[in-house]
Amino acid sequence: MCKSDLTCRPMGFSIDNIRADFPILHRQVNGKPLVYFDNAATSQKPQQVIDALVHYYSHQNANIHRGVHALSQEATDAYEAARDLIQSFFNAKHREEIILTSGTTHSINLVAHGYRSLLSQGDEIIVGQAEHHSNIVPWQMACDLTGAILRVLPMDQNGQLKLDDFQNLLNTKTKLVVVNQVSNALGTINPIKTIIDLAHKQGARVLIDGAQASSHIKVDVHALDVDYYTTSAHKMCGPTGVGMLYGKKELLEALPAYQGGGEMIKEVYFEGTTYAGLPHKFEAGTPNIAGGIAFGAAIKYLNSIGLDAIAKHEDELLQYATAGLKDIDDLIIYGDVPDKTAVISFNINGLHPYDVGTLLDQMGIAVRTGQHCAQPVMDFYGIPGTVRASFAFYNTKEEIDLLISGVRRAVSMLL
């Protein structure tokens, strides 16, 4: 038995027990049992996380950090306990380095907004070519306002960032490097440790978008020596509308505040206001209290299975599905490299991803089709989009068999 949440360790991987935890996996779609392969868009939620939301609203609902009454204290404790769980999950040195946000998009905007004051004309930001739009647009906005320049770190045909080019791009004007740990369009894993080390040698800071990584790969922000790291709870079995920004303490202290309001201030006079310390400086307003607590529950849940066991199972699914799909004539997998998470982005020569996805949906199989919020990746390959199947630890080989036969069936209908 687990004595405390923080020391809770895996009890062995039982797919049946795991699937029993996810009520949605037992429903039907279009008259067929749901096969959910859109995990890269958002993961499903175990009962434990759903219960945490219900429990909070049923028993603990109160505003936090401000009440003297017992309920407020209890809610505050539960919310702050979630921060501790997140801190230990990512191995941050200090709890105040964990800023609770509404998600990756919010986290990136928070940092990019601060950089509007830190960048000057001619400064440079290096952005990966395979970024999600939410790790492109906030930087474009910051560059527009400051006269800083956005430089693109190109990828090769397999979706891997060209590290030689990176060395050439880095220079004394480089202030920041922003790349994802895992590409949502392709599933390819970037060598972020190398990127961080190279950038630091040039005196540049690094923000890693971990939205696609944190429920698949063990992340240790301290060991990585990363400056900023972002993620979304909803991709980690947690609820939507909550996420995290990790930042090194000294950097967050120097970063200008983002939104103003309650919670984030120390003293307010009309002559001027002093800001609260970390993490509250960046947490203006009443936060998503239930979401934060349930984010904690999601982390406990992932810990109880263990990221190693999760990665092992997902990798088996990936290998199995890759082999099965490759057997299909004219099927092209984008980013087919050894280092990737359980995401397969593919097309069948001559078929539109939308057609394939629509027919799979009729068979109860949920995949994502389109550009996956990464238009530059699609432009790179010169395609309108891909079909993306992304697997999670609660998926099975039987479901992958259904995907493969479903794709074959779709092809025979469409050709």
Binding site: N30, H352, Y354, D355, L359, G385, M413, L414
Partner: protein, 140 residues
């Protein structure tokens, strides 16, 4: 009230009790849709809001409106060809007034929600916009 063409489409689709047959039919329609020439496959004729590209144009001849369209996805082509059959050949006025309930009756309503990526709603809107423009021209 459904138009005659809409009634025919409803009857045709009622023959299918299985999704596969229905989609096979749509795909067949998509494959046989007369293509519009490449000169019209431009941004001017592109309907926004679809995951697949749809180009749609309209002509008025002797008081009747005729549509032609193309798409890079076959199912979308099938859907747009159903819409063309439902509306093409009517007067601009009649198209503006024509109901769109037949979409639900042929079981394509899961494509109807405005957020659905295939943009069925945008296609109907664009067809009606063309008709509205012709109707205004005719009255002027």
């Amino acid at each position: 009230m459904n138009t005659q063409a809409q009634q025919e489409i409803i009857e045709e689709f009622a023959l299918f009790d299985d999704w596969m047959d229905k989609y096979e039919h749509l795909i067949g329609l998509g494959k046989s849709l007369p293509l519009i020439s490449d000169q019209y496959k431009t941004d001017e004729f592109l309907i926004k809001g679809c995951q697949s590209k749809v180009w749609l144009r309209a002509d008025q001849k002797e008081g009747r409106v005729y549509y032609s369209a193309d798409s890079d996805a076959i199912i979308t082509k099938g859907i747009v060809s159903v819409l063309i059959r439902a509306f093409s050949g009517l007067s601009a006025q009649d198209i503006v007034k024509a109901p769109t309930d037949f979409i639900k009756e042929i079981g394509l309503s899961d494509h109807l929600s405005p957020t659905r990526a295939n943009g069925l709603v945008s296609m109907i809107k664009q067809m009606k916009l063309y008709a509205t423009a012709f109707a205004a021209q005719n009255n002027a």
